[in-house]
């Protein structure tokens, strides 16, 4: 089946609600108004993933990945340019007395927490709407080239829902890609569940 035969509109509708929630949680985390602009959604195969990303061409990336199982299995990854990730960390930690530790581990820990909260906001809203249930793995932080950060999750996935989102915070904007890696059969189950929900 060609990917263009899938009707992504119902999925985009449900994902849009989750992305709105993700903006809301970032708003709370950063204590600053976060505006979400022009999110777009695309369904791609693993071999076409790099070309579909907002962040293609960015040399150094920061990513947080969480696996999930239950009614749907797969993994989700939140990817930022490392420079933007640094701005996020500074925003979140600037008035918090952080424990002693090397800056890299504080940065990784903070971004893991951001990824945990944003991915939970996105997926949690979807499964709440669908009356489904997921169990998550502990978030994993990776940093490096696109190939590096995607390698963690792309193996075994047959389809990827790519959500391109731009979060505009007060004095800077952050482009990010939110990726949901699924098998074909899981995607089909998710699509059916969403269509049933939308059709009532």
């Amino acid at each position: 089946m060609s990917l263009s035969e899938f009707n992504l509109e119902p999925i985009a509708e449900i994902v849009g609600i989750g992305i709105g929630k993700a903006a809301e949680v970032l708003n709370t985390m950063l204590n600053s108004h976060v505006r979400l602009t022009a999110p777009s959604l695309e369904l791609v195969r693993p071999e076409d993933l790099e070309g579909a990303l907002f962040l293609r061409g960015v040399e150094k990336l920061s990513a947080v990945e969480m696996g999930f199982s239950g009614d749907f299995e797969g993994s989700a990854e939140l990817v930022f340019a490392s420079a933007d990730a640094g701005k996020l960390v500074d925003c979140i930690t600037n008035d918090i007395p952080m424990p002693d530790g090397d800056l890299d581990s504080i940065r990784a820990g903070t971004l893991c927490e951001v990824g945990n909260i944003v991915i939970n906001a996105l997926l949690g809203n979807i499964v709440n709407v669908l009356h489904s249930e997921l169990t998550y793995t502990v978030p994993l932080y990776t940093e490096g080239s696109l190939a590096n950060v995607l390698r963690v999750v792309r193996d075994g996935a047959e389809l990827i829902i790519v959500v391109r989102a731009r979060f505009e915070v007060e004095n800077f904007s952050i482009d990010g890609d939110l990726l949901i890696f699924l098998s074909l059969s899981t995607f089909a189950r998710l699509e059916t569940a969403i269509r049933r929900f939308v059709d009532g």
Partner: protein, 120 residues
């Protein structure tokens, strides 16, 4: 001022909770479930703030252990997991309340006050 055990593997999260509690409550941080249970065996606390998703002993396991070993000690689950099923499950395991991340000071303090206010 209540003495609260804050159990979360994320140093950032522990630092945020500690900052939000401010001078209102005393936070004793713990980075994992095993350490938390050891602390509970040797010190007395008014309540536990417990993350769910942790490596090693996870939050639900820690919660079960606390309910068995320290009946009556209130456990407030603090989690990014916003699923209704998760909330129902941890309340079923014996949690006193669930507060979702990202934390806001008003929500966190209200949750703690509500739980501590219910104590005999």
């Amino acid at each position: 001022m209540a003495k609260l055990l804050v159990v979360d593997d994320s140093p950032t999260s522990r630092a945020i909770v500690t900052r939000l509690l401010g001078d209102k409550h005393k936070a004793i941080p713990s980075g994992d479930g095993e350490t938390a249970l050891a602390l509970l065996a040797s010190e007395s606390f008014d309540a536990v703030l417990l993350d769910l998703l942790m490596p090693g002993m996870d939050g639900p396991t820690v919660l079960r252990e606390i309910v068995v070993r320290h009946p009556g000690l209130p456990v407030i689950v603090i989690t990014a997991d916003i699923q209704e099923t998760t909330r129902a499950r941890v309340m079923g395991l014996g949690a006193a309340a669930v507060v979702n991340k990202p934390l806001r000071q008003d929500n966190l303090l209200a949750g703690i006050d509500a739980v501590l206010g219910k104590l005999p």
